[in-house]
Subunit: 348 residues, 4 copies
């Protein structure tokens, strides 16, 4: 089988680096183009990048020359790790020019024709592509890094019990802010109770992701949601303290069973990047923890723990997911694998 | 005016050290006894302690000999920084023997005859002492470190608008676990979603503290409260993400005014350790932060910020207080100052 | 080929955990016994351990029952991760009883009959075993965690240019102190300029390791060495700033070539845990760094960088090695692989 | 006595903030001008600054308007916290225009007419000002932040025993890199073995500072020095592992006595910012530590500990000083106090 040639937009940033790490030896995709801002154009990737991944930079990638982010790259699909300030226009250009764009930026997430995809949760939303009208190409969006873990934990509860209300307080890793991102003077021995735009994303994206595809459009979910977001001195892994009110309250053991039995399209299709179990419930009362569980199932699973009754809602619990793997590059890659496997949805 | 001779129980621990730092030059109290576990008895304080305060150990204190925690210390009042596993019995012995005991332990907090005191919030609860029956002495309890900041922020809202429900998610500093406390391998680059017994304290103590003294007993408050507690890699300062439902919703500016105008007995009496303003609202949208605000007003004020509307409750906001100053030694010291100023409540 | 049954002494500690992680799927060894202090005896491993490794605890290991550290374990070889305060006597008992003991403790390191082994550096020291007289078994010692990285970096220089003097200043990770080890209050936002006994080990062990085996004994090296040791807030990976005076000064490029060409017995024998290249020189002027390079070559290689001339010595440079992999469990495992491959040295 | 009106150049950066914190209530100086880069010009200081000091921003300072860094500020003296890339030209302009410039930048440090001043060490170097020819004003330079602590520790040894050679390995705080400075992704759980230009400064500035003023010029010292510099995850306080070879070796107790008895011009003149004891020797074998001792004597003293014999040099020991107080703003302020007290050196 011939590999699909792919390009990475914003290749030098921290999500761009994760894309490279995850795709470098991928069975279905081959990196044939790397693009970055003008400042880096023309340099070799090795010269331009401050490589921060724990695995060494693959030498062949290091020798590739960085190209500008314009829609004539030698590839068919692109993974976009662009900053949202520029992603909207550039990704639109690529779609217009016929590329399949897997975007990690927020620009197109709430566009009614763009699937906001988490394959275990709403694979059927890919149907939106059939009517998508950006041009010959397509845009598929990856949700916000905090949202992906959240909807993976909520989906089994929504299906089994229904959900009325969700309260979320996050403790988010510094890698979520990109590189250089958070200044060390701001975060060592500190917590910052603001991540710009993050609460708004958590309070909007789940409605679409957990909504239903009905005759060409997404009918949003109807629960209520409120979020408070904090930055903590952790390298990777977003923690979220969640409280939920269910439509039909059930015993705690049923919620745990719902998480443990959760398995969906990527697992059934055995996609290369799919976690074996997308949602993992931990019995230990001090789990999950970023340092111990962010790498669970290749960093693609959400860890859940501390389920207990709540005086205000029905239940409260804690979740953890790897923000630059499941929450960014790994999530977008799984989206691409689903598309590659399921066929073209009208793509050329 | 002659100073009251005081002793410190559990003098070598981290709260014990804070007591010494705060009382060493106090205008009303004089440290005349230091007591610790048998292991340290007989040593000089300097030999026995691993001094971790930012100010140098006062040489005269360093030369004092550590005594056992038995009720024959050469002092009239004691400040107890004992671990809860032993505090109950020892503090009872001291009260029986006639000492005024200012306790930072949890042992007697919920005892119906013991005031659970935050001077700005419930100074009138000292009336309980008149009927307290431990012996010739008295026990006054300091609330849990997370609770003190919380009730200081809630009291102005309760008085002005009434409160129906409170949701709290904490991000707590390592100094709250004492010394050696949290292992560095457990917390660097990590968050731990469990602090044993902490959620139970936050879900019970505020009912008593914010309750009303009515004819010899405390009538508890009637709101609902739910808490989730986390340990984060911060040295000092507990952060809390709070959501509240008020009985009478009011505009945000009225809540801010309630906090800014809050002033109570310790301020009116000009107690030495009282903060000028017990609750401080910050306009900056990324405040409060532990590193920047824990020392505010000598570490005795609660910092509040990010007040905004909530889709589930009425409002959400973030608070911060210094857990070993306002939340422990400084809080107990303010309690003692209030008693010293207001007279004896039947104390000998 | 039948696997050698091995036991792990001190299995619940941080080095014990690393042994389990590294040996659980080993092609030549099979874990058949886990032993720990009396406190844990009788519990399942899963109950007793606070598992801190980034990979999940293998379920079969978790179900094993912990046994006391006495010399009747159902295995032939033991890996000792015991604390030095008890290791001397227990390891002696095991050797007397016929076990091959691979020790990570300091107790027997300087014993003249015990090889202080780093397979790339002094594999021929295993000859000492032929005359070793502890009993029917044997004791092989693993050097101190800071020393292993140091001698791996020095060996190519010693062979090519001779060494007259070495100055070392270390910045060591918290995992080197075991668990719970360093209190978080002591090390977050801090450096501790003392690691008890560490400087003495760095100033003695290299003489033996880099010495020559001559007719039944080790003739120590003759350079001079001075060390200063510090603890820094890093999870894993010891950094060392090294200055060396060579016997025969050579151009910097020759030192780099010596490191890059260094390859020794474990590489020639293709031992399972051997790094491909034991010493790796980095060109980037801000390398090596613990976070980026501690995992290099499975955590078994030493990283070297910043070679430059020195006004006092000939050269200065920085090295990094993973203290609980190459510097502890991985190092002892490589020792065991060398023995398993090379035959019995008089072992039964 | 009328206060001297002073301006601060680069007022919004981290050293600029320290200047404000230290000078806001100064008995001799009054802040009458704040200047910053064009980006901030015209804003109020409060709007433009990301205030990171532990004490609140004085409201009157917060209301001051930021001016451009041109030499017509309404003040007589300026404290420069400018980046070295622009400091040279701007400071020269101010000196030409008649201002007394106290610079913390490296631009003029090695200029033969500029005193590189540490008042306890080389107060007599101010004599250089009499011949300085920048214009009607003067430039006085503050050494590098690592150098100030070092020369304060070396000066008593140099005077008493002479010094032949110095080896230094630093572990430096993140605040030394300014704001935003070091990215948190680069330094949490990490050490960076490079600080650009720092080793060169440590290997050159001490020659001048510890040199002798002889008939209008500085005769440099003649010891040898080598430095290795590292960045560690510590907020404030530079640690340095020092090895020294003395001209006349003496017992360790004599070195300690030399440090303890060290007292110099700022102490004799009782300058407002002078530490009581400029060099403090700690007996505890795990001292000094940044977290415990950086604030010693208002952050103006150097802490020294762990003096012990060395196999290569005569002695080794560890020093600590606060890099943004003694090593930057506080040091420059002490320079200014010395000048203000000693008279005009030809200044107008």
């Amino acid at each position: 089988m011939k590999k699909i040639p792919v390009g990475i937009l914003g290749a030098t940033g921290s999500v761009g680096q994760r894309f490279i790490e995850l795709i470098a030896n991928h069975p279905w995709f081959e990196i044939t183009a790397l693009a970055a801002s003008d400042r880096s154009t023309g340099k070799s990737y090795r010269e331009a990048v401050n490589w921060l991944m724990p695995t060494p930079l693959p030498p062949a990638i290091g020798r590739m020359q960085l190209q500008p982010c314009v829609a004539n790259l030698p590839c068919a699909w692109v993974f976009s790790a662009l900053d949202s300030s520029v992603a909207g226009a550039i990704e639109g250009d690529f779609a217009k020019a016929g590329y399949i764009v897997h975007s990690n930026a927020s620009s197109h997430r709430m566009h009614p024709e763009v699937p906001l995809l988490v394959p275990e949760v709403n694979g059927e939303h890919l149907e939106l592509l059939k009517r998508q009208s950006f041009g010959k190409g397509k845009i598929i969006a990856n949700p916000n890094c905090s949202v992906i873990g959240l909807v993976l934990a909520l989906k089994p509860l929504l299906d089994a019990f229904g959900i009325e209300a969700i309260n979320v307080v996050t403790m988010q890793a510094i890698s979520g802010a990109g590189y250089p991102g958070v200044a060390s003077l701001d975060i060592i021995d500190n917590v910052i109770p603001l991540i710009k735009g993050e609460e708004e994303k958590i309070e909007s994206e789940p409605y679409k992701i957990l909504g239903r595809y009905v005759s060409g459009r997404i009918e949003p979910s109807t629960f209520k949601i409120s979020a408070q977001c904090n930055r903590v001195p952790v390298n990777d892994g977003h923690m979220e303290c969640v409280s939920v009110k269910l439509r039909n309250k059930a015993p705690a053991k049923d919620l745990i069973a719902a998480w443990r039995n959760f398995s969906s399209i990527p697992q059934h299709l055995n996609l290369p990047t799919a976690p074996l179990h997308p949602s993992h419930y931990h019995e230990e009362d001090n789990f999950p923890q970023p340092k111990l569980h962010r790498q669970l199932d290749k960093g693609m699973a959400v860890s859940i723990g501390r389920l207990r009754e709540c005086a205000l809602f029905d239940y409260k619990f804690t979740i953890l997911s790897h923000n630059t793997i499941r929450g960014a590059a790994g999530g977008a890659l799984l989206n691409a694998e689903l598309m590659a496997r399921q066929g073209d949805y009208g793509c050329h």
